[in-house]
Symmetry: D2
């Protein structure tokens, strides 16, 4: 028999069994055939992954390709982003910068390196930050042999969720963040419907597992959501020459 006839026969037997069990027992669902749980449509979109897990796949928007900051602007006034670019790397300069494009849900890849010269301690050493939708900070900090408060160290959602582990590489080495971000949703009246969520891999190691954000990052006091739509990625100037390279994002 062809597979289809086999399937038909199987269903026929299942229905017979179904009929026969009814006298004394409760009915059992007739047996399904495998094809009943096989869904060909919609088809899955094909992309080309990067040559390594850190390289941008074909459907990514390249936010920094090593050449210039043309995808970025100064956060304060919307003017040109003036941080220095050199040797495929850019270094934190004066004032926060933001992407020109705005994003909702996304996967974001960022590589960063603590300043080569180790200076300061706790929050004073190699401090910067990645603000998802311009509001929710994944902390960037040199936590290599540098203790700070647990919910403020590298890989933390700043002042909200400490990282599961400290997976820092040392200065002069590059760190990777792979971030999966789900934007918050709001009701028509502006109240929160679902909080933002974030998963973070730091150097390939899970440090945040789809945690719920409590609201926009606050240095002082308790976070509180306010309704918003799509918004840029911002990078923080905290006065330390943190370095960035190879930044790409995929809209989800």
């Amino acid at each position: 028999m062809t597979p289809k006839k086999n399937a038909l026969a199987a269903v026929a037997l299942g229905l017979l069994a179904y009929t026969n069990t009814q006298a004394q027992d409760t009915p059992k669902p007739p047996k399904m055939v495998p094809e009943m749980t096989e869904f060909w449509e919609p088809a899955v979109r094909v992309i080309t992954p990067g040559a390594t897990s850190t390289e941008a796949p074909s459907d990514a928007i390249i936010l920094f390709d090593g050449k210039d900051l043309s995808q970025w602007k100064a956060k304060a006034d919307g003017g040109a982003a003036k941080w220095q670019v050199k040797d495929k790397v850019f270094t934190v300069g004066k004032g926060d910068i933001s992407t020109k494009k705005e994003f909702g849900d996304f996967q974001l890849h960022v590589e960063w390196s603590a300043p080569d010269e180790v200076k300061g301690e706790s929050q004073g050493r190699g401090n910067s930050g990645i603000f998802l939708q311009d509001r929710y900070e994944v902390q960037v900090l040199d936590n290599y042999n540098n203790r700070t408060y647990s919910n403020g160290q590298a890989g933390s959602v700043y002042k909200q969720h400490r990282p599961l582990v400290n997976a820092m590489r040392k200065p002069t080495e590059w760190n990777t963040y792979d971030i999966v971000y789900t934007a918050p949703r709001f009701k028509e009246d502006g109240s929160l419907f679902t909080p933002a969520r974030v998963t973070v891999l730091h150097n390939g190691v899970l440090v945040q597992n789809n945690v719920e954000l409590k609201g926009p990052t606050e240095y002082i006091g308790l976070p509180e959501y306010k309704a918003h739509g799509k918004a840029p990625i911002s990078l923080q100037d905290h006065g330390n020459p943190v370095q960035y390279r190879n930044i790409w994002i995929r809209e989800l």
Copy 2:
């Protein structure tokens, strides 16, 4: 003033403001100081990440180091795992294999390559699978230029969740899976409390984002949870010489 005295002054001003607003308005919470949301304990455990995002971090259990299958057993009878190991790679042989150790929640890294010789189509080409807790299959399949049902292709939770995109590399190239798995929890009476959840990155690209599993993988019919505890990782023999290497796991 020292930072602490500054903080004290800030609180004093906040409390005065609080008092003064009460006549006409509702009270406003007094301003907090930054240290009130800084938690140093418990400290975050320090680990050493791999030299690249695919290499095992220091807290991983190495499930395959390129030498032998000593961490594995035959699933059917618990005897030795007899799949062939050669050149730091092992190839699917007769019968499924399972880890000797059992796991709950975890992060799992697996590298796999479709058979070098392209043969068969749809589910018949380069088919294997990774069974999380021996029950929940993340599909392994050669989907490079090979269409099959969407919820059965590489990166799918087999017959439950199709991948967000098809991020396959071609035969003779290696694919990576980075899997974050949260085990289901059950109530005392054996009923489901929370379903299993899984996040999958395929070659660094998100293909499953903390999706809820519907129950154990079923080839025929609808999945249904049954209470269970820790369980091994199993690899499926589907008759195709799929290759594996560099497998490590971190308990969460």
Copy 3:
């Protein structure tokens, strides 16, 4: 001292303690004052509850007040709802009916009574249904001494979730459903963001606890979400003279 001065003193002591612990230990967050977690705004809207828990509160929309079906229409053609109203009760007649108004998230109170004359068995006895957003059915069925499939009995989300218990009253007595419904949300591309959720109390007894709906109710086959907006409440004509009274809804 006044309470405010007390609070200030408490903070001062907390900050001193904070300073003093730093030599050997990690810092401890300074103690907060109670007012820091007391939020007066926004004020909570005041409503007047019903005289009993089954009577409509002041902010409810009355969908049936005992007089007529002016809030309803025929589902098939949008014409007048023609089910018979008598003695503050209406009885299922020809064709499903739907509310004229459409709803998103809501709390719904419905009272229903199985036909006075007990006839038929399993799904053939006293069958009707309440379709939330015109798609998701909370089953209405005379399950008093009447066995049917568990996921199709009164209080079930039809063919998706069986009720936690069977809390039926017998024919000639009235049943209450108190339903809290959260509408599904969809992404811009029409795919599901969050599934619908429902809590049901049947005669004051919990039978569904914020369960996730799998998609629109299907008599045959597997449910699948399709994006939609606000939609009416519909009542099913399954050919049995089920009676309804006292229906109200509160938008959430």
Copy 4:
């Protein structure tokens, strides 16, 4: 034909259709039959609901039946609960009281009345509280024409979630709370796995919809979970003669 033969014919047609579509299109899943999604086992447990939605159903544990406090103990020392019982009502007296029995997940019905004599304002008027698992407070307060901070009023999860509306009845009238509580779960290492959740109906009106609790109720400072198992229901002595009656609970 009998229904079963009809079903069989339907499947046969479905499989034929499946075969025929394969030439040009992707396969479509063959049509299922209704019985494939009808599950008779396990059977749903039958209970008898109360005569009204406020009366205890047959599977409830009666925590106060109008006669005595034999189900309760003094929280401080485990001795007899000494609050006064009179006319089927008990009134808050010296010291908190707790149930002798401990609970995990549950549905709880409580009726309470603000002191007949209206005295004090804000938190000083008719203050008591219901501590779920001895830790998580649903606020009891006379909020009839009495403003206080929103996250501290009747129907709030004290200092965590303000009620959706203020559904208070006035002093000398009785309020009902219908509470559905899901206990938190913890990981083996004591860290939080899932937070506690609570739904509250106040006089039949939804005031909390399965909200996540942030941790044990704290008067001062931020809540923080600590692992625990089953625990009693406790009622708070806040110095005001709040009255209680008709308390029952169903374990979930």
